[in-house]
Each structure stands twice: as C-alpha cells, then as structure tokens.
C-alpha cells in the first residue's frame, strides 16, 4: 500500500473507534500532533506545581499542609506519566527526557496560561484547586476517548487521582466561603483575578487547522467551545450559590441558543502570555525549573553514568 493508502486506512480505523498503540504504524502528522499535545500537557502539569507549591509553606494547618503537598505531588506525578508517553512517541527522533525538559527551560514548549499567573493569596491557592482543576478535569475527561491508547490509559489514572483534587479544592473554598468577612472578600478578589484566565484556559473559539486535524484523527473529540460551555454549566451555579459575583455583567444563559453567553477574555493578551512566556510569573517559575534541570544535572549524570 502506498503512504496515501496507509493514511486513508488509518483515518478510517480511528474514525470507527479503533485505538492506536505506540508500536502501531501511524502517519507522521498523527505522531507530531500527539507529541505536541502531550508534551504541552506534561509540562503544564509540571508548571502547575509552582503556583500551589508556593502555598505549601504557608498552609494554615497540618492537614491543609499535608493535603496540598499530596496534591502538588500528584501534579508532578502526572507530569511523569505524560512525559513517558511523549518519550515513547519521540523516540524515533532520538528525543528523550533531557531534551523534552530542556525545551521547557529554553521556552520551546508552551504551558497553560493559568500557570503563568500569580497565586497571591490562600484563596487563590484554593481557587486553583477548585476551578482550574475543575476546568482541567473537564478537558481531561474529554480526552478519555482519544484514539491514542497509551494516552487514554494514563488519563484514566490521572482522572482518578483528580477526584481527590476536586474534593480538596472544594473543601478549601467552602471553608473560606463560610468564614469571616475578610476571608469572603479574599475569595471574591480571587475569582475576579482568575475568571478570564479560566475562560481562556479552554482555548480560542475558532477551530484552528491543528485542532481540526486533531478532531480528524480522533485525538480529541470535542471543541474548545463545547468544553468551555460544559465548564460554565457545571460551575456557574455553584459559584453563585456561594454568594460570589462573577466579574462579567453580560453573563447569562441563552435558552434559545442553549449556551452560556459570556464576555470573551482578551485573547491576544493571554495568547502573548503563553507564546512569549510573558505572564506575571512566567520567568520566575521557569527559573525554578532551571534549578532542577540545569543546577542538578550533575545528579543525573552521577546516577546514570557513575561519574
């Protein structure tokens, strides 16, 4: 069969629900998209460690400290699981762990906008657990049906661990919401700070050529906007129930269109944060990654080569 025939056959298979394993033949385009997507997913998990890690030393009780440590640990663990998937996919190009993580400190791989932002207060730390994790879980749940089987298997594990994150995030937020005036103010301020970042998290409204290709290959099966709508439908009522105000006076449910109408985030500003690493905390957090990647390279050399 010529390569065009192989590609057609492949697309037919994935579109009828077949799962692809790492040793199966796959079109280069499929492999590239997977590497790009999962690499970004992996480094986003790792960069997701830092905003919450900053609050581990300040966690206000033994139990909160332990829970936050466990949660941050899970994020790093998810990074590990995902990196291994990318490493297997990138093996034909001779690219391994070291290079994949070098890409991060050299700014060659992007990570989610939310992890460029500042976690300013304990309410921010809680809100990250509740809403950012909530958004991430919706995104990850939608990928459970991906055509790439190793990714699907790992996502199953990741989602199972996320169920603790959801409960933990809710618990922190509920404690603050039931608290003093000062605490509630802190929570409202946190929602104001994060709302548009959250909307941006799901990605642009239009279906980009890369996104179209991912839908074509069944790497993803849902569009950005479908997922954003699902997030809004699940979380807006809960945000309101806590007595919080969402900083968007135009927000409402349009029953004719059967969708939430929302004021759009400033796409270009957020896009620049992600593509140029120009968020309030981008450079500081990449510098933290360098401690592991560059300053402790001697440890990896010693452990693997005995020098």
């Amino acid at each position: 069969m010529d390569s065009l025939g192989l590609e057609e056959e492949f697309v037919k298979r994935v579109q009828s629900g077949a799962k692809i394993e790492s040793n199966d033949w796959m079109p280069d385009g499929y492999r590239h998209l997977l590497i790009k997507l999962i690499h970004m997913h992996a480094v986003s998990e790792i960069m997701g460690v830092y905003p919450e890690k900053e609050w581990v030393p300040k966690a206000p009780s033994l139990r909160r400290k332990l829970a936050l440590m466990a949660k941050v640990q899970d994020e790093m663990g998810h990074g590990q699981l995902l990196l291994r998937i990318v490493e297997d996919l990138a093996a034909p190009y001779g690219k391994g762990r070291e290079e994949l993580l070098d890409d991060l400190v050299e700014g060659k791989v992007k990570f989610h906008n939310v992890f460029h932002m500042e976690a300013r207060t304990w309410a921010d730390a809680g809100l990250i657990g509740w809403l950012i994790d909530g958004a991430a879980i919706i995104n990850q749940a939608s990928l459970l049906s991906t055509s790439y089987a190793p990714y699907a298997r790992i996502l199953k594990r990741i989602c199972a661990e996320e169920s603790f994150h959801m409960q933990h995030g809710e618990n922190v937020i509920l404690s603050i919401a039931m608290g003093t005036e000062k605490q509630r103010k802190m929570l409202q301020d946190s929602l104001n700070y994060w709302w548009y970042s959250l909307l941006f998290f799901f990605g642009p409204l239009e279906i980009t050529p890369a996104a179209r290709k991912m839908l074509h290959y069944r790497i993803r099966t849902k569009t950005n906007e479908e997922l954003r709508q699902k997030f809004l439908a699940k979380y807006i009522p809960r945000i309101w129930s806590l007595g919080l105000t969402i900083p968007d006076p135009t927000l409402h449910y349009d029953s004719k269109l059967e969708r939430w109408h929302y004021a759009e985030p400033e796409w270009e500003t957020f896009q620049r944060i992600v593509s140029e690493n120009k968020g309030p905390k981008s450079q500081e957090r990449i510098a933290l990654r360098r401690i592991a990647q560059d300053q402790h390279k001697w440890v990896r050399l010693a452990m693997t080569m005995g020098i």
Binding site: I46, V49, Y50, K53, V56, P57, K58, A59, P60, S61, L62, R63, R64, K65, L66, M69, A70, V72, Q73, M76, G77, G79, Q80, L83, R97, L101, W122, V172, S175, I176, M178, G179, T180, K182, Q183, M186, L288, R289, I291, A292, Q295, H296, K297, W298, V299, R300, L301, A302, M303, M305, G306, I307
Partner: protein
C-alpha cells in the same frame, strides 16, 4: 511483671515524668515537622521528576509523624496540635539545628536526610517498647514507614559517594557541613537518664549514639577515597535542642504563619 501491667498511662504520670515526656515529645515533633517542611521545599525542584514524587511522599510522612507527636503533646498539655506546629516562637522549639538548615544542594539534602533517618530509626527502636503506651503504639507504626526512608537515602548516599567527580566532592563537603550538627541531633537532653529509668526509653542513650556512629561510618568506610577521613565535631555556639536556633528557622516560621496572621479569627 508483665509489660502491660507495667505500662504508664497519661493520667499516671508524675509531674516530673510529665515534664520530661513533653520535653522529649517536643524534640521529636519539632524535628519531624521542620524536616518535613524543608523536604516540601524541594517540590518541583528535585533532580528528576520521578524523585520529586518519591521525595514528596517522604516529606508527607515526616509531617504526618510530626502530627502524631503533636497530638500526644496535645493530650498531655491541652494545646492544639496545629498551635504547637505553627504558632510557637523559635525559642520554644526543640528541633535539632540539622533539620532547620536551608536545603542547599542535593548532596546536602541527601546527607542530612540519611543522618536524620539513621538517628530516627535508632530512636524509634528505643521507643517501640516504651512504658508510655501511646508512644510505643505510634512508634511501632512509624518505624515501618521510616524503614523505606532509610533505604532510600542509603541508596542515594552510596551511589553519590561511590561515583567519582563532582558528585563525590559535593558529598564530602555536605558530610562535613552536616556532621557539625551531629552533637545537637543526638542530644536527648537533661532528662535522658530519667527517661531511661522510667522506661519511656528502653535503650541506653550512650549505646544509641555509638550505634549511630558505627552504622554511619560503615556506610562510607569502604569507599577508598573516604575511608581515611575523620568526623570533625564542632561545638556549636547555639543548640537547637535548647531552643537556640538559626535565622533559617525564624524565616521559615515567619513564612509559615502568613495565612494564620492574615485573619487570626478565621478558620481555614
């Protein structure tokens, strides 16, 4: 007399026993808490992603063990475990200087943790048959968890000192730094003979210390480059066990109470 009938319950303690026990438990709790805190600062910074995950479990274990000891003090003193962990000023803390030092590089982290876990294991061995039953009960559980810590750091220690180059040089330097705090780490305090005679501890402290040094020296004694070295003890000007701490602890405590200080009336 059987062990059970000989056991000490909280309400049976004499005033002096109570005081000595609280002093000892405070040393244990503060050690575990501050070390767990230092360990948690490695989140996201470890040399490999896999180790980052593994190290965090150890950090959680240490904080979990601290919580256990603080709860024992809470039972005796009626002050909450969270208060004991977060709100006591530095001069009331009895952790060893070793655990409060800033993390430094990976070599210092490994050496420090290995030394701590080695001492902790010996200390736990001396408590699993304690007449103070709550302590015997808890230390038995902890010992099972700490076993993994010790083999983890033993492995790192051997590997990093066993290979040449930068790693060994850094390890040698780290050993010299950490060894300066050993006197303080191994200091059981004024009540050590009382704790032994009451059966709260069941090992001769002098034997515990010699066991520590013999195991530590065994670990590096066979490495040719290290076998000739001697541990240089320094008499520290300040003593963590007596509440004399470094600036490193003060800063850590300041950081730790930020949320609590934001609204002291709040529940978080």
């Amino acid at each position: 007399m059987s062990h059970e009938t000989n056991s000490l319950a909280p309400e049976q303690l004499t005033e002096q026993q109570h005081m000595a026990l609280v002093d000892w438990l405070t040393k244990l709790a503060d050690d575990e808490f501050i070390l767990g805190h230092r360990d948690s600062e490695w989140l996201g910074l470890c040399p490999t992603v896999e180790e980052d995950v593994a190290f965090s479990s150890i950090a959680q274990d240490e904080v979990g063990h601290a919580a256990f000891y603080y709860e024992l003090i809470q039972e005796l003193e009626g002050v909450s475990a969270d208060y004991l962990a977060f709100q006591r000023p530095a001069h009331e803390r009895k952790n060893s200087l070793l655990v409060e030092r800033e993390n430094g590089d990976w070599a210092y982290t490994i050496v420090r943790h290995y030394l701590y876990d080695l001492w902790d294991q010996i200390r736990l061995d001396a408590m699993v048959k304690s007449r103070y039953t709550p302590l015997a009960h808890g230390t038995k559980k902890m010992k099972r968890e700490e076993y993994y810590h010790l083999i983890h750091f033993q492995h790192w220690f051997t590997r990093l000192t066993g290979c040449g180059g930068e790693a060994r040089e850094r390890m040698k330097q780290a050993m010299e730094w950490a060894e300066q705090d050993l006197d303080d780490l191994l200091d059981i305090g004024l009540y050590e003979s009382d704790l032994l005679s009451w059966g709260i501890l069941t090992q001769e402290p002098a034997k515990m210390r010699s066991e520590f040094y013999s195991q530590y020296e065994d670990l590096w004694g066979k490495i040719s480059d290290l076998s000739g070295r001697r541990i240089i003890f320094s008499k520290q000007a300040s003593k963590g066990r007596m509440g004399q701490h470094s600036q490193a602890l003060a800063s850590a405590l300041e950081n730790m109470t930020e949320v609590i200080r934001f609204d002291p009336n709040a529940k978080w």
